[in-house]
């Protein structure tokens, strides 16, 4: 239930007229005078200062919890000083009257104070005295006293109400000097509530919900003077009216909040090898979600996209590095097999298998169109500009420059796309799917973007092994980083096999050859 848009100091935008600020009273008419089908209270009135327009929406609820609307009655305005609205109740029912302000049409002047009076009249004509309910004070540019549940939407629980919290929802971040005070919801784990004076300082605990209020002064000041409206207040002809005022007008909202996590990557069925170190900060939120039955997989290397998905191509793979492997809060490096190798002696191919390596293998046999000089975008490469490589199609490009993947690229099984780049390969922010074999002498960079990037195939950075170039991820999914990797690398065995069958790829593959001198 988003409360509004824009600055909370502005009137609420309530096009559906479903935001209300309610005053209510319950009335018991004890004179037992029958009036046909109806008896008890004939109408209830409210006066708020000298407001001339009837703005109150009235309904009542019978003892069966059925809600009935009650139309405003013509002429209900009394003495041009306030508002009045008829209401009525059924026999045997207790009348509850909610004086609900249409918050989209406030006529009130900011900074003014209005007296609020209520009274009721029964069908016998008995009319209670006007009772002063207190004052409604309109503060200048103040926030509503908001309360509601806070959900850590790092965890997608079914009862989550609000989804993601953004600045434009209750605009908390737009309120200066706002502190959030938390109260634990009964039954929830409150152990995470730490901090000074109840101020929120700690990450919300998984699976818990919290109720909080803003310490800002409310839009409506407290108006109820319950001492003036108590049971037994005398009504004319002996009726008793009991007025109960809600505990101040207030906005109620449920918030979803999440601590920001660092983005992370994951490999699926793919060996991950680095000749220095591997650093992937798998967040604790993923661990908690996994432990709580969620879909997040808190490992660097897995065999499937989510916990409930089928394995892709193989079991998990080996994560290997020379210098070290850091996996953040991950439960293990890999799942289901925690295969990890730190080996300072990992073989390093002299000269690597970079752009010049393939140019050397290809010799002069590679068609001119498959050699590209200078920086290029995928959408500008003939044969690949549509972003689709069909089965049987073989697209090999040796690019002497940088490659910007400015659109998605899909490769059907039986097809192959091999892009060998002497510089960097960058996956732009709009790219969500990239399939094929990508080899860069420099970096493989992933630009920031809103959506997860699925990289299927084979990806090689610093292919020429000159020590310049690595895998750099800048993509962050914002709140979703808590539960899912920003980029996943899925191995495609069919691409390796397609290289063996391709005609062009045959020319740029090297046969294993071992030279050794033997006795003549």
């Amino acid at each position: 239930m988003p409360l509004g848009e824009g600055d909370i100091c502005s009137p609420f935008n309530d096009p559906n007229n479903d935001h209300i600020i309610g005053f209510g009273m319950s009335i018991t008419d004890s004179d037992s005078v029958s009036a046909g089908r109806y008896h008890h209270v004939r109408y209830a009135d409210m006066n708020i200062g000298s407001i001339a327009s009837p703005l109150l929406l009235v309904h009542y609820v019978d003892n069966g919890d059925n809600t009935y609307s009650v139309a405003k009655t013509a002429g209900s305005q009394r003495d041009a000083i306030g508002l009045s609205t008829y209401s009525r109740s059924r026999t045997g029912s207790t009348l509850y009257v909610d004086f609900s302000l249409d918050v989209n049409n406030f006529p009130f002047s900011v900074g003014d104070t209005y007296d609020v009076f209520v009274r009721a009249e029964d069908f016998a004509g008995a009319v209670a005295n006007w009772r002063n309910m207190g004052q409604l004070e309109i503060w200048n540019c103040q926030g509503v006293n908001i309360s509601g549940k806070v959900y850590d939407v790092s965890y997608y629980y079914p009862d989550m109400v609000c989804g993601n919290l953004s600045d434009s929802d209750p605009n908390i971040s737009g309120l200066p000097n706002t502190n959030i005070l938390f109260d634990a919801v009964a039954g929830d784990d409150v152990s995470a509530l730490t901090g000074v004076d109840g101020r929120y300082t700690a990450a919300l605990r998984a699976g818990s919900s919290y109720r909080y209020t803003l310490t800002r002064s409310p839009f409506f000041n407290a108006i109820a003077d319950l001492a003036d409206v108590t049971a037994g207040d005398e009504c004319l002809t002996g009726e008793t009216a009991v007025f109960t005022v809600t505990e101040g007008p207030r906005g109620v909202i449920d918030f979803g909040m999440s601590s920001q996590r660092d983005p992370w990557i994951q490999v699926i069925g793919a060996d991950l090898t680095a000749y220095t170190s591997i650093t992937v900060d798998v967040p604790q939120t993923c661990v908690d979600n996994y432990g709580g039955g969620g879909e997040c997989l808190p490992f660097i290397s897995v065999s499937k996209l989510t916990r409930s998905a089928a394995s892709i191509f193989s079991e998990n793979s080996i994560v290997a590095a020379r210098a070290g492997i850091s996996s953040g809060q991950a439960l293990a490096v890999g799942d289901p097999n925690n295969w990890r190798v730190i080996d300072a002696n990992l073989w390093h191919r002299p000269g690597g298998s970079g752009y010049n390596y393939y140019v050397g293998l290809a010799g002069g046999t590679l068609p001119a169109g498959e050699r590209i000089e200078g920086d290029v975008n995928l959408s500008a490469i003939s044969g690949l500009s549509d972003g689709v490589v069909a089965s049987g199609e073989e697209e090999v490009r040796l690019i002497h420059g940088n490659l910007a993947m400015d659109r998605n690229l899909t490769v059907a099984q039986g097809g192959i796309a091999l892009l060998v780049v002497s510089g960097n390969i960058t996956f732009d922010s709009n790219v969500t799917i990239a399939q094929g074999i990508f080899s860069a002498d420099g970096n493989i960079s992933i630009a920031d973007g809103d959506d997860q990037l699925i990289l299927s195939g084979i990806f090689v950075a610093d292919a020429d092994s000159d020590g310049a170039g690595s895998v750099i991820n800048s993509r962050s999914l914002g709140i979703d980083d808590a539960l899912t990797p920003a980029a996943v690398f899925i191995y495609r065995p069919d691409l390796a096999v397609a290289m063996l069958r391709g005609t062009t790829t045959q020319g740029i593959m090297e046969a294993e050859a071992r030279w050794e001198e033997i006795r003549p």
Binding site: W264, I265, I268, A270, D271, L272, T273, A274, Y275, S277, T279, V280, D281, I300, S314, E315, S317, I318, A321, A323, N337, W339, V341, D343, N345, W347, S353, Q413, S439, I444, G457, I458, F459, V460, A461, D462, S465, G467, S470, V471, N473, S476, F489, Y491, P493, D494, A496, V497, L500, R501, Q506, M509, A511, E512, R514, E516, E517, I518, R519, P520
Partner: protein
């Protein structure tokens, strides 16, 4: 004055007489010393001369040997080029190559197929992280993979040397899909339990090597294995089971260069195992960085 002169001459005469007398007494010793000095000088001269001559000879032989090796290399390069381009090795103009490097003879032998038996010893000792492709399918004459024939056994023994850990990636076809299955073994129990969590090998000896494991190939039609050792270098061997033979893995070529030296030759010889064409080792991994990987 005349007398003084006479006295001086007499003294000189006496000194000379004494000297001549001593000299006559030591003549044998001096001769010996002279002879010794001459002998040492002669010996040194002869030794230095021999050394110089030897050095010259060795240097010459090394030079000729290097030329022979260069010739062998040139022959092998040409053979590999012809293999790649499909040209006949028998038509290599060895005389022309020999002349170009200044040697008398180059001999390039026809390729000898490797594999095709019950076991195949991969001819390269693999360094940690280096990969080897062991084919379980046959190859066509143009060097492409023939997916319709090859090893059809349900299992295969994979052998390596104690001390190393190995990853074996099994590529197979299931219907229209290509998939992989990974095996990982380590002979070192400490590493298995505290580091890599690989499996223990199941064989204490395997073919001619010291350890091994039986791989289950039943997931689909076997295509090839990719072996990658860790921690230390190792030889690897695959051993067919149930009478299945390992497909031909490639060919061995030899090339020799020789320089004639009278009736003898200075010869060098090179052997090359040339496997079927395969993607580079980094292509058997999903994400590979020559430096580091940072997820954020």
């Amino acid at each position: 004055m005349g007398r003084n002169q006479a006295v001086r001459e007499f003294k000189i005469y006496k000194k000379m007489k004494n000297y001549n007398s001593k000299f006559k007494n030591n003549r044998g010793q001096i001769a010996l010393i002279v002879l010794a000095i001459m002998a040492v000088a002669l010996t040194t001269t002869v030794s230095v001369s021999q050394r110089v001559i030897n050095d010259l000879r060795v240097s010459y032989q090394q030079q000729e040997s290097a030329k022979a090796f260069l010739g062998a290399e040139a022959g092998m390069e040409e053979a590999l080029r012809r293999l790649k381009s499909g040209e006949q090795i028998s038509q290599i103009d060895t005389e022309q190559i020999a002349q170009s490097v200044g040697i008398s003879e180059i001999v390039v032998n026809q390729p000898v197929t490797q594999g095709g038996g019950e076991e195949f010893n991969y001819p390269v000792t693999l360094e940690p992280g280096q990969t080897a492709v062991i084919w379980l399918r046959d190859h066509n004459s143009d060097g492409t993979l023939n997916e319709s024939s090859g090893y059809n056994g349900e299992n295969i023994n994979f052998c390596w040397q104690t001390g190393a850990a190995v990853e074996v990636i099994y590529f197979y076809r299931s219907g229209a899909n290509y998939s992989i299955r990974r095996f990982a073994f380590d002979t070192n129990e400490t590493r298995r339990s505290s580091e890599n969590h690989f499996s223990a090998p199941t064989m204490s000896s395997c073919a001619d090597l010291s350890t091994g494991a039986t791989l289950d190939l039943t997931a689909g039609t076997p295509l090839f294995l990719v072996a990658r050792p860790f921690y230390q270098s190792t030889q690897v061997t695959v051993e067919g089971m149930s009478g299945q033979t390992i497909p031909v893995q490639g060919a061995e070529l030899t090339s020799a260069g020789a320089v004639a030296q009278g009736a003898t030759k200075i010869a060098r010889k090179i052997r090359v195992f040339r496997g079927w064409s395969a993607p580079p080792s980094s292509f058997f991994q999903g994400l590979f960085s020559g430096t580091g990987v940072s997820g954020n």
